[in-house]
Symmetry: C2
Subunit: 333 residues, 2 copies
């Protein structure tokens, strides 16, 4: 036999037609018990793997999903990617991963290139204008993660409740003057987080200043650390864990002890948040769950396009108390 096994080669060996072999795999209930088991046995023996291209040509489906993330090297995303892949695989789909580099143009180009090879798209923290994404969503199944756009299915991780608890936690430790270290101005998450902190602080009678925006990087956090040191605040709530880590790093360099002299907290609960010294008080983002949910929504939409409707799912993150926050101390500078 030359080349890999095909329906045809199996059909010849089994003495049936190609269609019967095809149906043995795709519509098993349609064919005779005995015929089917025989076909399956032969297929197994010759290691038959259906030709996805041929199948895709006629069905118009690739059983592949596209997953766009800003940057897989950003520690926030790997758990999402991991969960999304696992779920997709469980449900019979493969995942093509691409990095947009946080750049709307590249995002656009990737989506264009990708759309010919996937059945649907998961867009994580997309940077493209809402109108463009809405337009895209009319052309093919699409779900956004961590960006809410009216008319587009999305799953967002809300840290509102968790941040509320965090602010309460700071209050109970005696803090009255805190700062929020803002992330990128264009970020949906930053807006949500900033507002959550403000709201709870107001409720608790605490004063909160916003510092930044800072890049959502360690270096951004270093910058923020300087600003915190220069402020009168006794606690800082950072946009995310990486920024918090940078801030803590800088504060330590400047001789300010965390949490003895100043408290710092992050957001996301990335892999390393529990491994640093001090360990990082933070609000966990259920990012893996979000990845799974996004894939489920996408495949559901693919499987039953008729009954599909726009959904907006919100997943809540929980407050995680660790070592980088403590009782307020009088700052001595």
């Amino acid at each position: 036999m030359s080349g890999p096994a095909s329906l045809k080669s199996i059909a010849e060996e089994a003495g049936v037609s190609v269609s019967t072999v095809s149906r043995a795999f795709t519509r098993p209930e349609l064919i005779g018990e005995q015929t089917r088991t025989e076909i399956l046995a032969i297929a197994e023996r010759v290691g038959y793997q259906p030709n996805r291209s041929a199948r895709g040509l006629v069905t118009g489906r690739t059983t592949t999903l596209g997953l766009l993330v800003p940057d897989i090297a950003n520690p926030f995303f790997p758990p999402l990617v991991r969960a999304a892949e696992d779920r997709a695989y469980e449900r019979g789909y493969g995942v093509m991963l691409m990095d947009t580099d946080e750049h709307a143009d590249r995002e656009k180009a990737l989506i264009r290139d990708l759309s010919g090879r996937v059945d649907g798209l998961v867009l994580c923290s997309p940077r493209s204008p809402a109108g463009q994404i809405r337009e895209l969503a009319t052309q093919r199944p699409l779900v956004c993660v961590n960006r809410s756009i009216s008319g587009v299915t999305s799953v967002c991780c809300s840290t509102r409740d968790g941040l509320g608890q965090l602010v309460q936690h700071l209050r109970s430790l005696g803090h009255r003057k805190i700062v929020y270290l803002a992330g990128p101005a264009s970020s949906w998450s930053d807006r949500e987080r900033r507002n959550s902190v403000r709201r709870q602080a107001a409720k608790s009678g605490m004063q909160v200043d916003v510092l930044g925006p800072y890049p959502a990087t360690f270096e951004g956090g270093v910058l923020a650390g300087d600003a915190v040191a220069d402020s009168a605040a006794t606690a800082a709530v950072a946009f995310d864990d990486v920024v918090a880590l940078g801030a803590i790093h800088r504060l330590s360099e400047r001789g300010l002890r965390v949490p003895d002299q100043i408290s710092v907290s992050g957001c996301d609960d990335i892999f390393f948040a529990s491994m640093t010294l001090p360990t990082l008080t933070t609000v966990a983002t259920p990012i893996a769950e979000a990845g799974r949910a996004a894939i489920d929504l996408l495949i559901d939409a693919l499987d039953s396009p008729k009954e599909h409707r726009i959904q907006e799912i919100t997943l809540s993150g929980a407050f995680v108390a660790r070592g980088s926050t403590g009782r307020m101390a009088r700052r001595t500078r």
Copy 2:
């Protein structure tokens, strides 16, 4: 026009045959200048995207590569994945990513499922028996990362020189008794690292004990930290950065200051190595470079199967001095 643009619809509009349109894209030198520009203009206007399934059916190629990693959530891999994806995209390929969960069985299943949908495979730190991988490599282009198997193209990150420099560095700081905190026994990298440390220590007249093996996790590092505390060594070289971080964490918990009382170093230079307190002395693994190289080798093999030959590339990692190693102090316990 119903459905997406096809060669046929473009051909009709341009008043030429389907073959001519096809050639305008794939063999532009074969057709008339004027015809070509006209076709390209129409294609551009209608947003033509070739149907990959149809193309794949006749060419037998998917222009997709498979990338298997043990666990994308392990901070060692994201830079590799990122670089591999970027390079593949540059060269016109997409990448399907899958996680083996460090499990040989799952690895095998994934490879089987994947092989129908990709042109070639990059296997990172594969756990499967060498014979199985060698067999696989005869069936389709394949390159291994961080595992050297005779007869299989591979790219490995060697930390030998870097670890040699690290051991020298420890010696010059006065250390004479060190320990190596071993990683998983089945790991190719662990063997290489252990031997490198041993060799250099012997050369430098230092005593080195091997502790472990420990799981290559933070918790593994915590375990290792206890063992280090109980040993007489003044410096520890950990299998990787995560283990080092765990060890430092545990040592600090036990009141041993790093690096004042004991030095600890890691390996890999992951994202966080420079962000911890203390910052982590380590040996950088050129993992992104390895990802790029692997993709290049794979696509080269795909593009010119005739002149292809087995290659084994080794990339060297450099020693990075940071804050977790320091002058030897008399241990007081």
